[in-house]
Amino acid sequence: MEMFSSVPEFKVAIDAHRCRLCQRCVENCSFGALEWRENKVKAFDDRCVACQRCVSMCPEDAITLHRTPSVMSTHPVWTENARRDVFTQARTGAVLLASTGNELHERIIFDNLLLDACQVTNPAIDPLREPIELRTHIGKKPRSVEFEAIDDGITLTTELSPALRLDIPIMIAQMSYGALSLEAHEALARAAVMSGTTMGSGEGGLHKKLYQYADHIVVQVASGRFGVHLAYLNAGAAVEIKIGQGAKPGIGGHLPGIKISEEIAETRMIPIGVDAISPAPHHDIYSIEDLALLVNSLKEATRYKKPVFVKIAAVHNVAAISSGVCRAGADAIVVDGFRAGTGATPKVIRDNIGIPIELAIASVDQRLRDEGIRNETSIIASGTIRNSGDVAKAIALGADAVKIGTAALIALGCTVCKRCYTGRCAWGITTQDPKLRSRLDPAEGARRVANLLAAWSIELKEILGAAGINSIESLRGNRDRLRGYELDHTTLEILGVQHAGR
């Protein structure tokens, strides 16, 4: 049967006058969109993902990528994307796989939140000349502290829970080795060391080469328990139980066997070439009581030296769930919003499940305060943090710290072409192909991520200074320093924020 095959999304334009036929673009294209045929570069538009690798590598600037001018008639409901998805599924009968974060909901509440500054009535602080504290402690805080007088001063007698000490309130999110290349994983680990923060191991274990950075790595325990063993748990700065992920709440993971190379197999502790399937739930956790068991089991296995975090996706009842997670003994709750990124997720799940992180932070913080247990756990927010403004707003809404995933990958060279799941990343980030991996230099990558974090830290200090606040801890949950702009009444009520002008 003859079928209309949908229009390619992008068009590769090669300026014949500029092209000197060096074939560098052909070598660099990992998606097969450029081929050397009959002594010239031939473009296959339908394979192009607009990753910009060829554009960057062309020594003559001869290549430009364009969005294909549509030849399909327009329709407000049946957009080209909607039609393209139906065509694909009619052809394959399969679940649509997608990468990166939610594409359906463009509006970001952060953009409608405005930060405050001092004018006249109290002085702003100049961060270039006065100290402003970004240090953040993640973990349980005691309800009260007791001291005892000793000969030459006082000593703390209250027993403190193990906490994670960060120089900045920005952590690097959980992304697994397997989803990421080893080079990308190493770059993020080194960046965490350079920036005085942590990165997440993700759920695929920790490559032996990365154990040297483990005191800056939060090791994850997910439902598949890949690469989880005593040395791994005890090496990390903290242990994180992954219940859910913002890009795919309530569903498991699936790393296809073709991606399980020798090194990944060794790290995940599974045979080469066998699918790595993470079940949707942890089958030892069917309740808050069961979660408490795993939290306590991990504390036993690490002899009460490591804080244990629990990561959940922001779903409808996130506040009540967080209360349970806190009562299960989690030292921090990681809340991942519905725009959070991923290497691979069913598109329908990515685009339709979960709630915005801004609302989740505010409602979780409020719930824990109302119940008088806010000191028992820290809140770490992730899934949309694009810049230092988002960091400040997330903290003002009630988070202790944030995690960045996509932003860190963009710092490594990701152009958000959204094809992580193909394993053909032209920038060496989400691939296991040795040739592609070699394009990413871990040292240079680490520098770039550390630069990003350093820049955001300066900006955070500027934001704090402008607001007359000299410590990030004083911004936490300080919603009085936020105003909403063009937000509806319900949104403002949940955020606990006044409208601008009030």
Binding site: V95, M269, V274, D275, P279
Partner: protein, 246 residues
């Protein structure tokens, strides 16, 4: 060395155990154990721990090496994410026994509960083994990615006739389950299939059961008189055509 568990909180009991080990004890006997969780959690090396009573959830979780013998029944999560070692239970086991187990052996004299051996994996030369003398509940070997499970159906405390529950090996993509006697195909979940026993399978079963039977004073030859059924993944890539690019 003897430790009386009695009504101690698990934290206190496990701290005593850890202290005894760091003081050099290689053999420990825990008496009057009353549901204390996490016993032998994360313990390493060639220790021997005998437990009298009923240990609580996650016995031997993350364990790497020790031998634990329980004279009594056990609760959920025995050998959860265990790396190596041996757990012998002179009694019945419960749910998710051997969850994500990566190595070592769990020998249960009687029945085991739901989702036993879920997500077991083989890693290099390390092959996790579970043997239950009685009956297994539903979802035995779910998501099984490696290792060996043997269900004998001998010492059944349950009054059910069949020695298997429903949905056996749903989503299995590695490892092998051996069941003493015939298995109704309707019991199998998606991904699992029955295969004829090979000569190698016979050797594996005999070797494992020789060790198992010596633990419980059974005659291995009479156990082996009944023919075994082999259950393994029906396809190496169960979900190969499940996804497409957006």
């Amino acid at each position: 060395m003897h430790i009386l568990a009695d009504f101690k909180h698990y934290k206190e009991l496990n701290e005593e155990v850890a202290q005894a080990i760091s003081d050099g004890a290689a053999q420990l006997t825990l008496e009057d154990v009353n549901g204390q969780s996490f016993i032998a959690n994360g313990l390493r090396g060639s220790l021997e721990i005998d437990i009298y009573g009923t240990p609580g959830n996650d016995l031997g979780m993350f364990m790497d090496g020790p031998r634990v013998t329980v004279f009594g029944n056990v609760q959920d999560g025995v050998g959860n994410t265990m790396s190596s070692g041996t757990i012998v239970v002179h009694g019945d086991g419960r749910d998710i026994l051997g969850h994500s187990m990566r190595g070592g052996k769990i020998f249960v004299q009687g029945d085991v509960g739901y989702r036993v051996g879920i997500h077991m994996k083989t890693y290099k030369s390390s092959v996790p083994i579970i043997v239950a003398g009685g009956r297994a509940g539903d979802f035995l070997g779910e998501y099984m990615a490696g290792g060996i499970i043997i269900i004998l159906g001998i010492h059944k405390t349950s009054n059910k006739i069949d020695c298997l529950g429903d949905w056996v090996a749903t989503g299995q993509h590695g490892g092998t389950i051996y069941v003493r006697g015939e298995v109704d195909d309707q019991k199998l979940g998606d991904g699992a299939a029955q295969f004829p026993m090979t000569a190698n399978d016979e050797i594996v079963v005999k070797n494992v059961l020789t060790e198992y039977c010596s633990e419980f004073g059974l005659n291995v030859d009479s156990v082996l008189e009944t023919e075994f059924t082999k259950i393994a993944p029906g396809s190496p890539r169960l979900y190969a055509a499940f996804y497409t690019c957006d």
